[in-house]
Symmetry: C3
Subunit: 138 residues, 3 copies
Amino acid sequence: MKSLTEHLWFEVPGRRGFLNISDTVEALVRKSGIREGLFLVNAMHITSSVFINDNEGGLLQDFEVWLEKIAPEKPYSQYHHNGAEDNADAHLKRTIMGREVVVAITNGKLDFGPWEQIFYGEFDGNRRKRVLVKIIGE
Amino acid sequence: MKSLTEHLWFEVPGRRGFLNISDTVEALVRKSGIREGLFLVNAMHITSSVFINDNEGGLLQDFEVWLEKIAPEKPYSQYHHNGAEDNADAHLKRTIMGREVVVAITNGKLDFGPWEQIFYGEFDGNRRKRVLVKIIGE
Amino acid sequence: MKSLTEHLWFEVPGRRGFLNISDTVEALVRKSGIREGLFLVNAMHITSSVFINDNEGGLLQDFEVWLEKIAPEKPYSQYHHNGAEDNADAHLKRTIMGREVVVAITNGKLDFGPWEQIFYGEFDGNRRKRVLVKIIGE
């Protein structure tokens, strides 16, 4: 069994934003030399997400609007978590979008459908945060 | 390490529906010959889901009603993604239900609790779509 | 390839509650002797969750309030699943919070960010329920 571990750093300007990290993680599959295996990508912070969806700007706007409806940022006073903090909504938004994805590696590539792209979702930005990539296989 | 990769095709008539795929995927565990390992099942499309829940018809109706409340299909004009497309709600519904499940294989079987069943959830149907199964282990 | 399989039992008094199970699962990584690999933790019941978030009491209260807003317990009659059962809301809440987490093991430890903690989320308690831990790697 072979494995590869990498920590990626991202800094999203502003409180919220989405980054398409597909090319970055695909390059790590090649670096690993693994032909058959599993690929884990997860946010290492509890106010951000890694998820798979469509790389379409309108849809990313829809996610922003929808998450604000389900778990609004303000008023800050509506959340017990806030006080010293003001980011309770970011914990809830990340729960909807998910912490991690697990992807198959087949013939040395991410085994993706035609529109699958991997995104980093930031819900409490303006700071450097990490994403973990772990690949195991042969 | 052994591995097995299979792509399953499904066509759900109508826009939305749920298929219990438990028997189909359990058969793939036997085919793989893997006794101890991990089993990934994921939708390869970004408007469908793979999830684990109860095989009870009333509950599946509840999911349909609930998802329509959280991420309504209409009016189509409420979503930036729509225009050429009309399936923004399907991207949001799939986000709630999840892209993938990872299941343990123990003694050559899916290591499931008593009521766990695997479903394919379709939110933009009337077309052939794929599910990926990847098993790794020994 | 090495593997470890453990079934953990929990009984949460009351209908809903959250348990921090981080120390319990970390001990299993040491027990496994695995240095590089993947760690799956999943609820074996379809009315409970395993998820990763912050170990902060106010936030856990926020999750309780938020889940009751998105998928209210009562009136029981609003759900098709209820009748013989009264726990349809628990199936929906668990869907939001997630069935499972997959965590990287690096250098013999859970490869966690600074605030990541693993929780068991109970949405239909007052009974003994199981969580599965499966570790594979080398």
